[in-house]
């Protein structure tokens, strides 16, 4: 395993640490604080899922990490520490443009959202893979057909496809070509933004299996962005849940699905249709997601939270971590609020996990 290279073999050793990252956009006389104090830590060779509803800042956070934010956007604060396999950690946000360019693809690879539709329609797959490699400094004589072929093989595609054009491939196959492309230079981290969205279930399953295989064969860590919790359950080791530009909960995937802590996560899980057990009515999270131009004061989830109390309306909760490393940012988990926490748990048990209520019943 790679951990042995510099003698450090702690399994929890981070490869990427995001601390208090903010990404703001300016326009129409307003500042949109799309990502606003988000933190997470990606461990070497782990698959970390980033979940949350659309508009919560998942994609923007990824762009911030990769320094892809362009005007009128800016990164006013935060740190993104990358730990190479050897040598000291670097803060990506403090690097010069050329240094960032050199890190991309070799250390941090990116599969953007919807990119399976961005392959060049008039170039063969082999040429497109070659282009990306030469652009990142691989000498042409080092790019052999057998190297490209084994790259495709590592994502479960036949090397015969090297001579194919994108239109000859299905959506799932194109997505796997892009994953192969991102793995070409053996990056420490792959960031994939909604790679299965818009795919049919079979193709989606194939892409998820490809990502697992990529981790196994290339030893890359993966930051996997998806709004679909069921997909996280199938793939990731840990999940980070984002709400209103912040990470509100982070924990082992089994723990998130068995004992989610944050009321928002509980609500998300309660609104998933399940195909096992008795069919029961689901209850969504009441209200609408807030706007990044005007986040609610205090806890940003409080206007939609059925368990909110006075403190939530004025004071933002700080993220706290329990012994097993499960993080949550919610006032209910502060020692002084244990009675309220018990009350919430009792209410959830009473309702059989039913969360919230419909604000209005509408008999027809």
């Amino acid at each position: 395993m790679w951990g042995g290279v510099d003698g450090l073999t702690e399994p929890d050793k981070p490869v990427l640490e995001v601390e208090d990252l903010a990404v703001h956009y300016h326009g129409a006389g307003t500042t949109f604080r799309v990502v606003d104090g988000a933190s997470l830590r990606l461990r070497r060779e782990e698959i970390l899922g980033l979940a949350g509803e659309s508009g919560c800042g998942k994609s923007t956070m990824v762009e911030g990490i990769l320094r892809l934010v362009q005007a009128p956007g800016e990164i006013p604060s935060g740190r993104v520490l990358f730990h190479p396999r050897t040598g000291p950690a670097v803060d990506i946000l403090r690097l010069g443009a050329e240094e960032v360019r050199r890190l991309r693809w070799t250390a941090l690879a990116y599969v953007p959202q919807g990119s399976m539709n961005s392959l060049n329609p008039v170039a063969r797959i082999a040429d497109q893979l070659t282009d990306a490699m030469t652009a990142h400094g691989v000498p042409t004589d080092k790019i052999t057909l057998s190297r490209l072929g084994s790259l495709l093989a590592s994502v479960g595609l036949s090397p015969d496809l090297l001579s194919a054009y994108p239109h000859q491939l299905s959506g799932g196959m194109r997505q796997r070509v892009l994953i192969a492309n991102s793995l070409a230079l053996g990056p420490d981290v792959v960031i994939a933004d909604e790679p299965t969205t818009g795919l049919d279930v079979n193709a989606q399953r194939m892409v998820l299996e490809t990502l697992l295989r990529a981790r196994r064969e290339h030893h890359s860590a993966l930051l996997f962005v998806s709004h679909d919790l069921a997909v996280h359950a199938e793939l990731v080791d840990r999940v980070a849940v984002m709400y209103a530009g912040q990470v509100v909960e982070l924990g082992e995937v089994e723990e998130i699905f068995s004992t989610a802590l944050h009321p928002y996560t509980i609500g998300l899980l309660a609104s998933m249709p399940r195909m096992e057990g008795p069919r029961k009515r689901l209850f969504g999270i009441p209200g609408l997601a807030p706007s990044p131009a005007n986040w609610p004061v205090g806890c940003r989830f409080h206007p939609r939270c059925p368990f909110a109390f006075d403190r939530c309306r004025s004071e933002s909760p700080v993220s706290r971590e329990d012994a097993s490393g499960h993080l949550v940012a919610c006032h209910l988990y502060e020692p002084t609020e244990s009675k309220r926490l018990d009350a919430m748990r009792a209410r959830l048990t009473l309702d059989g996990g039913r969360f919230g209520t419909r604000l209005q019943d509408h008999p027809v």
Binding site: N202, E209, A230, A233, E234, F257, M272, M275, G284, V364
Partner: protein
């Protein structure tokens, strides 16, 4: 004439494409028969992957496209022949909900228009005051505050709010039948739940729904019957519970086994064979459409189109494996989740 609310008979739609300079026939919808009963409150899901002909089927039923063969009957009358008042009544009673919450608004008008226009057109309110009242009631029913929405332009609303306005429109019109084409695939979990609950409420009040989706979890939630479409053909039909828990057609089995289950303790233990997604060339006029991807293809599947075969409990599938009973169920085991975990 039967008493069905909606019925299609041998409905087909053929498109002509030019491939390598030669015209090629593409059967988007092929010989589809479906029925929604006249008693109301029925849900029928049409399930299939992209390219299976789901959306073409929706367009044919809505009268937005003409069938190449076969007919669509609404309350026993051919939809293609509707004109004038009949057509207007059909437009009022049968409402469509589409996937994209962004494309349905005209950016030049305030969102009031999508609510006010049907009220005016179908004479649903006797006064301006009543119209306003009904619009506000419907907005509140979908968790929107009328003052946040009325008088605004589409770009001033978030995606979630826009989709809710479309739901409010449904609430306002209370149609007899909703044709929902992938209505929840672009919205978030919380709103999706609300949307499905509204459909359930309307169903309980007698509205029927043709629910077109690639997402089997949501059709399970709605209940009712389902039919599985593959390359424009119905390959299996059954109550949705049977489709999910005892699928008979190899294609349905493959679909069901690939649904991600929201439980990290029940992950896939085997990988999907590559042939499962290889989109093979369409088979000629004879033969099973699933032939290329089917792990059990037999000689007879090449020669003959499998007919629908009943397996009891209101379930039928078009597969020769069912002709001699058995066979399919046990041998598909490695791909089926339920059997893995056991």
């Amino acid at each position: 004439m039967s008493g069905a609310l909606l019925e299609t008979r041998s409905l087909s739609r053929v498109f002509w494409q030019r491939r390598l300079g030669r015209p090629v026939q593409v059967r988007a919808v092929s010989d589809v028969n479906l029925t929604l009963g006249s008693s109301g409150g029925e849900v029928l899901s049409v399930v299939g992957e992209s390219g299976s002909g789901k959306s073409t089927l929706a367009r044919l039923i809505l009268g937005l496209d003409r069938p190449s063969a076969g007919n669509v009957f609404y309350r026993g009358e051919d939809v293609a022949r509707f004109v004038g008042a009949k057509r207007r009544q059909f437009r009022r009673e049968v409402q469509a909900v589409f996937q994209d919450p962004y494309a349905i608004f005209n950016p030049f008008y305030t969102v009031d228009r999508v609510l006010a226009q049907p009220l005016r057109r179908f004479h649903l309110a006797s006064s301006l005051h009543e119209a306003q009242q009904r619009m506000e009631d419907s907005l509140r029913a979908v968790d929107l505050r009328p003052r946040d929405v009325l008088g605004r332009y589409p770009h001033q609303l978030s995606g979630g709010e826009r989709q809710r306005v479309m739901l409010a429109r449904l609430h306002l019109l209370r149609p007899q039948l909703v044709i929902a084409d992938e209505p929840v695939s672009m919205i978030d979990a919380a709103l999706r739940t609300m949307f499905l609950n509204i459909l359930l409420d309307f169903r309980d009040a007698g509205m029927s729904c043709l629910f077109i989706t690639h997402n089997l979890e949501t059709s399970y939630y709605l209940g009712g019957n389902a039919l599985v479409l593959y390359q424009g053909r119905v390959v299996e039909r059954a109550p949705i519970d049977r489709i999910l828990h005892a699928p008979k057609h190899p294609y349905t089995q493959m679909l069901v086994s690939s649904i991600p289950v929201p439980d990290p303790k029940k992950r896939w233990k085997t990988s999907l064979p590559e042939s499962a997604i290889e989109s093979g060339e369409t088979v000629g006029s004879a033969g099973c459409p699933f032939l290329v991807r089917c792990p059990y293809a037999m000689e007879v599947c090449r020669r003959q189109d499998p007919p629908m075969m009943s397996v009891g409990d209101g379930q039928e599938a078009a597969c020769f494996l069912l002709a001699d009973r058995g066979g399919v169920r046990g041998s598909m085991a490695p791909m089926c989740k339920a059997e893995e975990s056991g």
